[in-house]
C-alpha cells in the first residue's frame, strides 16, 4: 500500500536541497573522521610501495587475500545501482523514486574504489596500465585470453556507463540548483546545467534516455560480475574455484550485498537529513521483500557449491569444504557468513514489523554486508591455503596493518565521497519525486479512499 504525502514543489526543492545549503556540525565531524582514515590508508599504500608487498600478509601460496576480497566486495556493492535504478525503472515500479540516485551513486563510487584494489595488489603499481593495448615498443601485448584483461574492459564499461547515467539524470536537478544559487555557485551550476529549461522535448528525451540507458546497462551488470567470477572460475589449479556456478553465484551475491548497501544508505540519509516524507516505510518494506527473494536465490547457489563437492566426492574438494566449514579460523568466518548473510536477516524480514522498522532494517542490512564480505574471504583464501599439484606448499594468512588500513580507508573513502556529493548535488532526484506526485491520485471505492496511479496509455 502506498502512503503518499503531497508537498508543494518549492518545499520539495527546499527539503531535498538541504544538504547543499546547510552544513550542520555533525557533517564536518564525520567528514574529518573519514578524511583522516582515508589519509591513513594513503600512507599505508605509500609504505607498501616503498617497502614492497612483503609488508602485507600475502605470501606463497596465498597470493590473494584482503585486497581481492575487498575488490569483489565493492564490485558486488556496485550492482545495487542497476538493480534498483534500471530494473525498477523498466518495470515502472513507483517505489523506486527516492532510491535511484543513491543507488546509482553507490554504484559509481564503489566501482571506482574497486578499480583501485588491483593497483594496491600490484608489486609494481606504476605499471597498472599494462593490461591496456598501448605499448608498441615492448614487443608484447596483453593476453586477451586472460580474465585479468577482461576485467578492466568490463569494469570500465560499467563505470563509464553508470557515471554517464548519473550525470544525465542529474541535469534537471542541477538546473534547480542553478536557479536557487547566486555568485560563483550559480556560474558553476549554470555551466553544468548546459542551458536546461524543461521543455517537453527535453523531458521526453530524459525519460527515453532513462529507459535506453537502463536497458543497455542491465546486460553489462550481468557480464561485469560474471567476468570477475571468471577470475576464479577459469583457474583449474585451485580447488573450489573451477565451477560453472560461479558467474551467476557472484552476480546474485552482488545484488544481495548491493541492495542491502542501498538500504543502509537510505536509512542513514533519512536520519541525517530528516527526509521522513521522502523515504517512507513503504520503500523499506518493498526493499526488504526484494531482498528476501534475492537472498534466497543466492543461498540456493551457495548450497549448490557444496552439492557439487558432494556429487563427485573428490578427496581434495571434500578436504577444502572441511577446511572452510570445520577448521579454525575459517569455521568462525563461515559461521559469521552463514548467520549474518542469511540465517538471521531473512527469517526476520519475513515479519512485517521488522520490514517496517528502521533500526531493525539498518542492523540487518549491515549484517548482510558483513556476512557477504566474509563469504568472499572464504571463497578466496582457504582454496589457496591448501597444497595442490600447482602450488607445492601449504600456507596460512594473517592480514597485516597495511591491508587492514587500506581496506578501512576504502570504506572511509566511499563515505567521504558520498557526503561530498550530498553537499554539491541532491541525493534524491527532485524531478522524479515531483513526477511521482503529479501522477498520484486517490480514488473512492465504496467507503474506502485508496491511493491510485495515473498511467499513460
Amino acid at each position: 500500500m502506498q502512503e503518499r504525502v503531497f508537498l508543494p514543489n518549492k518545499q520539495i526543492n527546499d527539503d531535498l536541497l538541504k544538504g547543499s545549503f546547510e552544513t550542520p556540525w555533525w557533517y564536518l565531524a564525520w567528514m574529518a573522521l573519514f578524511a583522516a582514515l582515508t589519509a591513513w590508508g594513503v600512507f599505508a599504500f605509500g609504505y607498501a610501495i616503498n617497502k614492497g608487498l612483503g609488508v602485507t600478509g600475502l605470501n606463497r601460496p596465498i597470493m590473494w587475500g584482503f585486497f581481492l576480497t575487498d575488490f569483489i566486495f565493492w564490485v558486488g556493492i556496485s550492482h545495487a545501482g542497476v538493480m534498483l535504478s534500471a530494473i525498477l525503472r523498466l518495470a515502472k515500479a513507483e517505489w523506486r523514486r527516492p532510491a535511484t540516485r543513491a543507488a546509482e551513486l553507490l554504484t559509481v563510487l564503489s566501482l571506482m574504489v574497486s578499480a583501485l584494489h588491483p593497483i594496491f595488489h600490484l608489486g609494481r603499481p606504476w605499471r597498472f596500465y599494462w593490461p591496456f593495448p598501448y605499448d608498441f615498443s615492448r614487443g608484447i601485448w596483453p593476453d586477451v585470453r586472460s580474465p585479468l584483461v577482461w576485467d578492466p574492459h568490463a569494469i570500465f564499461t560499467y563505470l563509464i556507463g553508470s557515471t554517464l547515467f548519473v550525470i544525465i539524470a542529474l541535469i534537471p536537478d542541477i538546473a534547480v540548483l542553478r536557479d536557487k544559487t547566486k555568485g560563483v555557485a550559480k556560474v558553476f551550476y549554470g555551466a553544468l546545467a548546459m542551458g536546461w529549461r524543461g521543455t517537453p522535448r527535453q523531458w521526453k528525451i530524459q525519460i527515453v534516455a532513462g529507459f535506453l540507458l537502463s536497458g543497455l546497462l542491465l546486460p553489462v551488470f550481468v557480464s561485469v560480475h560474471s567476468i570477475v567470477a571468471w577470475d576464479f572460475a577459469v583457474n583449474i589449479g585451485t580447488e573450489g574455484w573451477h565451477v560453472t556456478i560461479f558467474a551467476p553465484y557472484f552476480v546474485i551475491g552482488a545484488v544481495h550485498s548491493g541492495v542491502s548497501g542501498v538500504v543502509t544508505m537510505l536509512i542513514l540519509l533519512k536520519w541525517m537529513f530528516k527526509w521522513d516524507d521522502y523515504i517512507r516505510q513503504e520503500h523499506l518494506e518493498s526493499l526488504a521483500k526484494l531482498l528476501i527473494v534475492i537472498a534466497t536465490v543466492w543461498f540456493y547457489f551457495f548450497f549448490l557449491e557444496f552439492i557439487f563437492a558432494l556429487y563427485n566426492l573428490e578427496d581434495q574438494e571434500i578436504a577444502l569444504r572441511e577446511l572452510q566449514a570445520f577448521t579454525w579460523p575459517y569455521n568462525l568466518i563461515a559461521f559469521v557468513f552463514l548467520f549474518f548473510g542469511y540465517l538471521i536477516p531473512v527469517p526476520l524480514w519475513l515479519f512485517r514489523r521488522v520490514r517496517r522498522n528502521w533500526v531493525a532494517m539498518f542492523i540487518t542490512s549491515i549484517m548482510v554486508n558483513i556476512g557477504m564480505w566474509c563469504e568472499r574471504f572464504l571463497i578466496i583464501v582457504p582454496g589457496l591455503a591448501r597444497k595442490t599439484n600447482f602450488n607445492f606448499s601449504w600456507g596460512s594468512y594473517t592480514p597485516s596493518w597495511v591491508e587492514i588500513s587500506i581496506v578501512v580507508a576504502c570504506f572511509s573513502l566511499i563515505f567521504l565521497l558520498i557526503m561530498t556529493f550530498a553537499k554539491v548535488f541532491p541525493l534524491i532526484p527532485l524531478f522524479d519525486i515531483k513526477e511521482g506526485q503529479t501522477l498520484s491520485d486517490e480514488i473512492q471505492i465504496g467507503k474506502r479512499t485508496v491511493p491510485a496511479l495515473r498511467v499513460e496509455e
Binding site: H153, T157, R197, Q202, K204, I205, L212, S223
Partner: protein
C-alpha cells in the same frame, strides 16, 4: 520579434491558455512549455516531439564492435600465443571483449545522442524564469511586437500570474 513567458501556478490553467493560444491562431511552433518535472505527453496540447535517439546506440555499438575486433585481432596477431595446437584467435575471449566494447560504444553514443536531441549545451536557449523550478509552469511564445498586447490580455484572462517580455 519578441519573446514572452507567461507563468502559471497549475497545469490546468496552463493547458487552458495553450488552448486559447491555438484558438487565437498561435501555432505549436510558436509556443512551448517549460516545467520543472515531466508531465504526460500532450498534457498542454503540445506536439509530440520527434527524435531519432534510437539510432545512436546502434551507431555506437557498431563503432565499439569494430574497435574490439581491432584490439583483439591486432593483439593476438602481433603477439601470437601458441597453445597446444589451438587457434591463435580465441573466440570466447574475443566475444567477451567485443561484448563489453560494443556496449560501451552504444552507451557513449546514446549519451551524445541525448545531449544532441535535448539541444544542449545551449547557453542562449531562450527566455526563462527561475520560478519554473519552484513549480510554476511557463508558456513561452515567439511573436511579432505588434501582437504582444493582445497576447498579454489573452494570457492574463486565462490565469497567467506573471508575464515577462523580451523584445
Amino acid at each position: 520579434m519578441a519573446q514572452m513567458l507567461a507563468l502559471y501556478k497549475t497545469a490546468e490553467l496552463a493547458a487552458q491558455s495553450t488552448e486559447a493560444l491555438d484558438g487565437a491562431g498561435v501555432t505549436n511552433e510558436e509556443w512551448d512549455v517549460l516545467t520543472d518535472a515531466p508531465y504526460p505527453e500532450g498534457a498542454f496540447g503540445e506536439k509530440d516531439p520527434e527524435h531519432k535517439l534510437y539510432v545512436f546506440p546502434f551507431m555506437g555499438a557498431c563503432i565499439g564492435f569494430t574497435l574490439a575486433m581491432i584490439e583483439t585481432i591486432g593483439t593476438q596477431t602481433a603477439y601470437p600465443l601458441v597453445t597446444g595446437g589451438k587457434p591463435i584467435f580465441s573466440m570466447p575471449a574475443m566475444t567477451i571483449i567485443a561484448y563489453e566494447l560494443t556496449m560501451l560504444g552504444a552507451i557513449i553514443a546514446t549519451v551524445l545522442g541525448i545531449l544532441f536531441e535535448s539541444r544542449i549545451p545551449n547557453p542562449f536557449a531562450g527566455i526563462y524564469d527561475e520560478r519554473i523550478t519552484e513549480g510554476y509552469i511557463g508558456i513561452t511564445i515567439i511573436c511579432e511586437e505588434g501582437k504582444i498586447e493582445s497576447l498579454e490580455t489573452l494570457l492574463k484572462a486565462n490565469g497567467a500570474e506573471d508575464i515577462i517580455i523580451e523584445k
